[in-house]
């Protein structure tokens, strides 16, 4: 089991460029999440999904879009990158059933927007 994987690990973008971050999990989890981590801010939820074909906004969704076309994949898109989106992005997943509250995190993607 690879758990939760994220692609790419690092990326540098210029302002206005677009990119997609890929998250994949092999644990058959229903719930998937995208967070960003910034110094002094902790982890903030961008978007999340409760199942294939569904997505919902988190705390800081502006400037991002997501898609969950397959249960195992959750994509995070930046249509027009801004320097304020420089951050470390973490994907996470968890089981649907009540009582399985633990989230499993990927290793992160470090994004720099110049």
């Amino acid at each position: 089991n690879a758990g939760v994987t994220q692609t790419p690990k690092f990326r540098v973008l210029k302002t206005g460029q677009s990119m997609t971050l890929l998250c994949a999990q092999d644990m058959n989890h229903e719930y998937m999440y995208w967070y960003r981590q910034d110094p002094g801010m902790g982890l903030r939820l961008i978007h999340y999904s409760v199942g294939e074909g569904t997505t919902a906004k988190g705390e800081v969704p502006d400037g991002y879009n997501v898609s969950r076309l397959k249960k195992q994949n959750f994509l995070l898109g930046l249509e027009s990158a801004a320097p304020s989106q420089t951050s470390v992005y973490f994907c996470a997943s968890r089981h649907l059933a009540v009582g399985y509250n633990e989230q499993f995190f990927g290793p992160g993607t470090r994004l720099t927007v110049l």
Binding site: Y35, G42, L43, L45, F90
Partner: protein
Amino acid sequence: DQQVKQNSPSLSVQEGRISILNCDYTNSMFDYFLWYKKYPAEGPTFLISISSIKDKNEDGRFTVFLNKSAKHLSLHIVPSQPGDSAVYFCAASRGSTSGTYKYIFGTGTRLKVLA
């Protein structure tokens, strides 16, 4: 408005002693609390959790205490080991009627265990 607060950005403890990490929350509707540990350049990993119906949960060297009236939880690590040096995040969740679970994270406390 930060609903989950970790007011100590850092903490240093001698090896073998107790480490106590604190977390405060403001939303009384939170019903589940978790602690995660994060090493540099890695994703957070789950450490221990507690439901709002309990006031203590123990797992080996790690114990989480929940004081609902004070809206406060703490993580105790006894004895502390150098490998425990990491950033610790507390998180809180509230189940909604649709069954979706969102998590609010604190800003983290960097623990350094001195050998």
